[in-house]
């Protein structure tokens, strides 16, 4: 595939090209934190961000969506699907988040295909950017999901000083840059990329040893760390889990959802909807007659951790990519990399 470079100050030319065909979303900085939002002018774009509060999952598996509407006509119900086919381009997505999307792609297409996810995904172009500055919580290098990206992108940018290196990853990506006056990338550009990414890797301060991790987790179902996480706290200074579910909401590979119907006042029509859910919430495991398969907080946080360690039903498709978001938002200072150390027996609490 071809590679080019573009002066940073000329990025507006590339953006304008994208805007011709797509609604563009990228990292903006409305306050102290960055967030993926619609970009209509280069001024809004902040490609030098470390992490966003919510992952780009929101574009494919939104926090809330309508699956279909239904209507009662002559005693019969008719349904109408709400399929989204707007073409969007996500600009400035980091390697860890691209890897998370690749996992969700697999998850939502194995055995049964999820029309809603697939439709959105099919209509999305990913313009990724390699990370040159880690957030204090990220550990992508341990997870093999960063800081370099070598798959899953249509176009890949790397900050190489006053320029971006532009690498093409797909036909769609190639078509998008045709007509834009880009210079061919040089040997020096690639050297600079290499140098910066090596430097970046050195800046990462968090690690998780993933060797045999799913198996170790499965063999430690009755480890005392689960009770500590759920009830006592004290896992590397953590407090007891609050079952708030924030960790699931911000995790780019958490896929669980709840389904509910709404009815209009007329009682003639309504909608079926889905909404992100979390195994950390009490209701998640409830069944008939008040039974609950994960009533205790320790069982719920254990399930969540196992899922992120790749030891739940989602397997690798819902395991952690090391983005660090859950660590950042957890009000109880729970850090899964510390939990991994404890169940390995490598760390005394």
């Amino acid at each position: 595939m071809n590679s080019y470079n573009i002066e940073k100050k000329d990025m507006n030319i590339l953006l304008d090209r994208f805007l011709e065909d797509y609604k563009v979303f990228g990292p903006t900085r409305p306050g102290a934190d960055s967030t993926f939002d619609e970009i209509t002018s280069i001024k809004q774009l902040h490609l030098d961000y470390t992490s966003t509060v919510l992952p780009p999952k929101k574009f494919f598996h939104p926090p809330k969506e309508t699956l279909f509407s239904f209507e009662l006509k002559n005693d019969k119900f008719t349904t109408k699907e709400s399929i989204q086919d707007k073409k969007i381009l996500i600009l400035g997505i980091h390697p860890c988040d691209v890897h998370a999307i690749l996992k969700l792609d697999k998850f939502f297409s194995t055995d049964f295909s999820d029309t809603y996810y697939q439709n959105r995904r099919k209509n999305t172009v990913l313009v990724a950017i390699n990370c040159v500055e880690p957030s204090e919580h990220s550990f992508c290098s341990s997870m093999g999901t960063g800081p370099y990206l070598d798959e899953g992108y249509d176009i890949l940018l790397t900050d190489i000083g006053t320029k971006y290196l532009v690498e093409i990853g797909s036909k769609t990506g190639q078509k998008l840059v045709e007509g834009v006056n880009l210079r061919k990338a040089t040997e020096t550009d690639f050297h600079e990329k290499e140098r910066r990414l090596k430097l970046m890797e050195k800046k990462i301060k968090k690690f998780m040893n993933t060797t045999w991790l799913p198996r170790i987790a499965r063999e430690n179902l009755d480890h005392e760390v689960w009770l500590d996480l759920g009830e006592h706290g004290g896992v590397d200074g953590s407090f007891p889990c609050l079952s708030c579910g924030s960790c699931s909401l911000v995790c780019p590979t958490c896929y669980c959802y709840d389904v509910y119907d709404t009815m209009d006042l007329s009682l003639i029509s309504g909608t079926r909807n889905r909404e992100l859910d979390s195994c950390q919430l009490l209701e998640y495991g409830e069944v008939a007659l008040g039974d609950n398969f994960r009533r205790d907080r320790k069982d719920r946080i254990r399930h969540w951790m196992l899922c992120k360690f790749g030891a739940a039903a989602g397997g690798k498709n819902s395991s952690c990519v090391g983005c660090g978001r859950c660590i950042r938002v957890c009000p109880s200072k729970i850090d899964l990399t510390e939990v991994a150390k404890v169940i390995r027996g490598g760390k005394q609490r």
Binding site: F70, T79, F112, Y257, D258
Partner: protein, 275 residues
């Protein structure tokens, strides 16, 4: 195709089973779909009541023309709304989902069915299948426990079941009202095990009921010589999708909806016993 989109089905017949449970005969409105519909015993459907929601419901029977029966107990919002439906009413239905009972494995073997309460529902299809393919199977023994005799489902079929060649039906209840004429035994399903005819040699056991009952039944079966691999359980979990996407039904490394609901006891044992 959108897997989440329910197909319209019409209620052909309603049959009262107990004070809170009915059996419904259902047919898809789409005739082509109806013709090609051939679910296996033990599979389930996602039933939809528009405006209320969806529920996982086992098939209690099938017929040659593709119509199916479901047997539904009123425990909450969807099931309560179902109970108010009449013949001719419409309902949404998608499926069938899940793996069903291992009927091929059961061929040539004696079949022991141990069920509690609603657990009889997904196994009624197996009883009928064995009846219709009698030569393929060894002896059939059914141990069925319910709360009271009036809570027993498919009572009107017990006589027919007993007449299936080489079949034994053993009924037990938790309590027996004083005024009853029923000859049921009192006790848990496991209390029927001592008088059980099925020997563990060349047998397969199919178990369905409340999880606690299945746990005890499986444990007791182990102590009388059955191997874990001979025992199959059908599990129940909260289900929001039926197709391995919503996450709710996870147990260990499996989805009950997609990888089950029927599991070999050997595979699922670490996950159903309280940790």
């Amino acid at each position: 195709m959108n897997e989440y989109s329910p197909n319209l089905a019409v209620i052909k017949k309603v049959r009262k089973e107990t004070h809170d449970t009915n059996t419904y005969t259902l047919e898809f409105s789409d005739k082509k779909l109806q013709k090609s519909f051939s679910p296996a015993p033990g599979q389930f459907m996602m039933l939809s009541l528009f405006g209320i929601g969806e529920s996982a419901i086992s098939l209690s029977g099938t017929s040659n023309n593709g119509s199916v029966t479901t047997t539904i107990r009123n425990v909450g919002s969807v099931t309560n709304a179902v109970l108010r439906l009449k013949e001719g009413d419409f309902i949404g239905m998608r499926g069938p989902y899940g793996n069903g009972w291992p009927l091929e494995r059961a061929e040539g073997k004696n079949v022991l069915i141990v069920v509690g309460g609603m657990g009889i529902v997904p196994l009624r299809g197996v009883v009928n299948y064995i009846k219709n393919n009698r030569k393929k199977f060894g002896d059939l023994e059914i141990i069925y426990g319910a709360r009271t005799p009036d809570d027993m489902l498919f009572r009107y079929e017990f006589e027919k079941w007993k007449q299936i060649k080489n079949t034994r039906l053993d009924l037990t209840v938790d309590e027996l009202p004083i005024e009853t004429t029923s000859k049921c035994k009192i006790g848990l399903v496991t209390s029927c095990f001592p008088s059980m005819k099925t020997h563990h040699k060349n047998a397969i056991v199919l178990v369905c009921g409340p999880e606690i009952m299945m746990r005890y039944a499986a444990k007791c079966l182990e102590t009388i010589g059955f191997k874990d691999q001979q025992i199959y359980l059908s599990l129940e979990r909260r289900m929001k999708c039926g197709i391995g996407k919503c996450g709710h039904c996870q147990i260990g490394l499996k989805y009950v909806c997609k990888d089950g609901p029927v599991f070999n006891y050997a595979d699922i044992k670490p996950f159903i016993h309280p940790l």
